[in-house]
């Protein structure tokens, strides 16, 4: 379960110096920063698929990164299965399986080795890891390519490996950042099935996407994010009802437009 409250995060405006040594003080003034996430609050329950729906640059990835303890929120708080993301970093990571946007796998390792590596890093011993990897290969239907090196994998195969890797330590909460990017229809359907099954098993799943149909087809609960804030969150039916529209796309436009006057000025 994920609870996020009033998360806020800004970044230094890009195009500055190429890199900075980590000793300097952050002296940037507020106006030279880009606000990526501005007051994001949402809840994702166990046994449910929560969709984070928003256009590119809305702040989806930044939100997920904050939840995954990769970057610290400047304001607000969040917890994963009751562990605070700023104070209890290792416990959060132990409970969380995170598959980032475009997650890369190691091309010179086989699918099995890729997953095994992560399982070992998560603290499983050799035997446990082997067992878990075998389980995941079965579960995600990867037998055909499990022992091939990842160099020539299709996008669908890569995604499966990346997902299996994120699941290696049997996390209760799973976050997937645009997992269907670049997948063909069949692969997308297969992935959806897997995600549904995981939710049915009682996992809490957060699924980010900018594709309406994707979110409408899969998610039990939808949080619409736009310009760094949550514009609306409810079940699909609830959102349609609140906006008075009958498809998610129109509802999305309406929901984000209602937010515009506050943020754009």
């Amino acid at each position: 379960m994920i609870v996020a409250e009033d998360l806020h995060r800004s970044f230094k405006r890009p195009g500055g110096r190429a890199f900075r040594l980590p000793f300097g003080k952050s002296d940037a003034k507020a106006d030279s920063r880009v606000v990526a996430v501005n007051s994001v609050s949402f809840t994702a329950d166990d046994g449910r698929i929560t969709g984070l729906l928003g256009p590119n640059g809305a702040g989806k990835s930044t939100t997920l990164r904050m939840l995954a303890t990769l970057i610290r929120p400047e304001r607000g708080s969040a917890s994963v299965d009751g562990h605070d993301v700023t104070r209890d970093v290792l416990a959060v990571r132990q409970h969380l399986g995170f598959m980032p946007h475009n997650a890369g796998i190691y091309p010179r390792l086989s699918a099995r080795e890729n997953i095994h590596y992560y399982a070992r890093l998560c603290g499983l011993d050799k035997q446990q890891a082997e067992q878990r990897v075998g389980q995941l290969i079965e579960q995600l239907d990867m037998k055909g390519f499990a022992d091939r090196r990842a160099t020539g994998f299709s996008q669908g195969q890569k995604t499966k490996v990346a997902l299996a890797r994120a699941l290696a330590h049997q996390p209760q909460t799973i976050m997937l950042d645009e997992p269907t990017n670049g997948l063909d229809v069949m692969a997308t359907r297969g992935l959806r099935e897997i995600i549904r099954q995981l939710a049915a098993d009682g996992h809490c799943i957060v699924f980010s996407s900018h594709i309406m149909q994707e979110v409408a087809a899969l998610c039990d609960h939808i949080a619409i994010i736009s310009d760094g804030s949550i514009a609306m969150q409810d079940s699909l039916a609830g959102i349609l009802e609140r906006t008075g529209e009958n498809d998610l796309e129109d509802a999305f436009v309406k929901a984000t437009l209602s937010l515009q006057p506050e943020t754009d000025r």
């Binding site: 890199f19 990571r93 995170f98 997650a103 390792l109």
Partner: protein, 388 residues
């Protein structure tokens, strides 16, 4: 524990990469010593003259100077008939040099005047030059003998003309080559260490960022220090492997050539090499740390190659510095990594004794710099910008 998992994975992963393996196992340990050491040894052979070896010399009109021919024969030179067209055949390289004895040689000699001799030599050809030097050396001995005889004949003590008795003590080409070799050895060691870890360091840091596999890795329940030190450990393994292999190949290479070629100044026995390797060993962690830290700053393998390429100046700088400015080993220069190892290894190869204080300072300075670099690398990995 996680540290070793990361380290082991990086080693296996990179052993499957041809580029990394080529630079770690072939370039530093085999190609570099062959290229530098081999050409050096070959140049010894070309420069040094073995006066005991019997060679032949073409002489035109040998019958005009029978005494000289006897003298040559007594100095391991077999006189042979000169070819038809002397100049052309020397130029073509059919014969290396031809000594021509002019018609008035005997008359001039008898009259006590300078007797003419012509040596046809092709100075563009190193072999011809070498043969010429040998002939000149023998002829000058002959000239000295004749001079002494002429002076004694006139009742003058020959030593009157030796106002200076200059004793030249081993400043032959062999001595300076030995010095050069002693300065090339540390260069070989250090370069092959750097090259050994070069691609692994890039692949495990900048490569990981470029492949976008760093973000999922960092979101795993393990400390970032385990990631950094695991990668560092893998780099250290490759650097060490490359260093050890280089030592072995240098040893093998110089076993193949006679020691006397190097003027006896350098002993390339196992002990010298082990001593040199031990003196250089603080560089193993240092170079690994340098590679990891520099490539941790970079975003892509291309950027990493650029920065590390520039960084290659660091191991090369002391080599050229010491070649052109002779910096003496002092307690001041010892704590400086790389520079001190160059100086220590040079002394080790030349068989000089090295003060314990220098060894301690060198190792201490290098390890302190390593600790500093590793601290920096850890801090670089704590940055959020790492994910950009």
């Amino acid at each position: 524990m996680s540290l070793f998992i990361v380290m082991f994975k990086e080693i296996v992963d990179n052993l499957r990469d041809r580029q990394t393996v080529f630079y770690a196992l072939l370039f530093g340990p085999i190609l570099l010593p062959l290229l530098l050491g081999g050409s050096l040894v070959a140049s010894f052979k070309q420069l040094s003259i073995d006066f005991d070896e019997v060679t032949s010399l073409s002489v035109l009109h040998a019958e005009r100077a029978p005494r000289l021919m006897e003298f040559l024969h007594g100095h391991n030179i077999d006189v042979t008939e000169a070819p038809e067209n002397v100049q052309a055949s020397v130029r073509r390289g059919d014969v290396l040099v031809v000594l021509e004895i002019p018609e008035d040689f005997a008359d001039q000699l008898r009259a006590g005047r300078p007797a003419p001799l012509t040596l046809h030599v092709n100075s563009a050809d190193k072999e011809s030059g070498k043969a010429a030097r040998r002939v000149q050396a023998i002829l000058s001995v002959y000239e000295r003998t004749l001079n002494n005889l002429r002076l004694q004949h006139r009742g003058i003590d020959p030593s009157t003309f030796d106002s200076l008795n200059l004793v030249e003590n081993d400043v032959s080409s062999d001595g300076s080559s030995g010095q050069l070799l002693a300065s090339i050895l540390p260069f070989l060691f250090i370069m092959s260490m750097v090259m050994g870890g070069f691609y692994l360091a890039i692949d495990t840091t900048a490569g990981e960022r470029e492949r976008q596999s760093l973000e999922p890795l960092l979101s795993l329940p393990l400390k970032r220090s385990a990631v950094v030190f695991g990668k560092y450990g893998a780099t250290l393994c490759f650097v060490t492997l490359s260093g050890v292999l280089t030592a072995v190949s240098i040893y093998t290479l110089f076993r193949l050539f006679p020691i006397e070629l190097m003027g006896g100044q350098i002993r390339f026995d196992g002990r010298t090499l082990v001593r040199a390797f031990l003196l250089a060993s603080p560089l193993l962690p240092f170079i690994s740390a340098l590679l990891i830290t520099v490539s941790a700053v970079t975003r892509s393998t291309k950027e990493a190659q650029t920065y590390l390429g520039l960084m290659m100046m660091v191991p090369m700088a002391p080599f050229f510095l010491l070649q052109f400015l002779s910096i003496r080993s002092t307690t001041m220069s010892m704590p400086i990594p790389m520079l001190s190892q160059y100086q220590l290894l040079e002394s080790a190869v030349l068989g000089d004794s090295i003060p314990i204080l220098h060894i301690l300072l060198s190792a201490g300075g290098t390890l302190a710099a390593t600790a500093l670099l590793l601290t920096l690398a850890s801090r670089l990995y704590q940055r959020e910008r790492l994910l950009d």
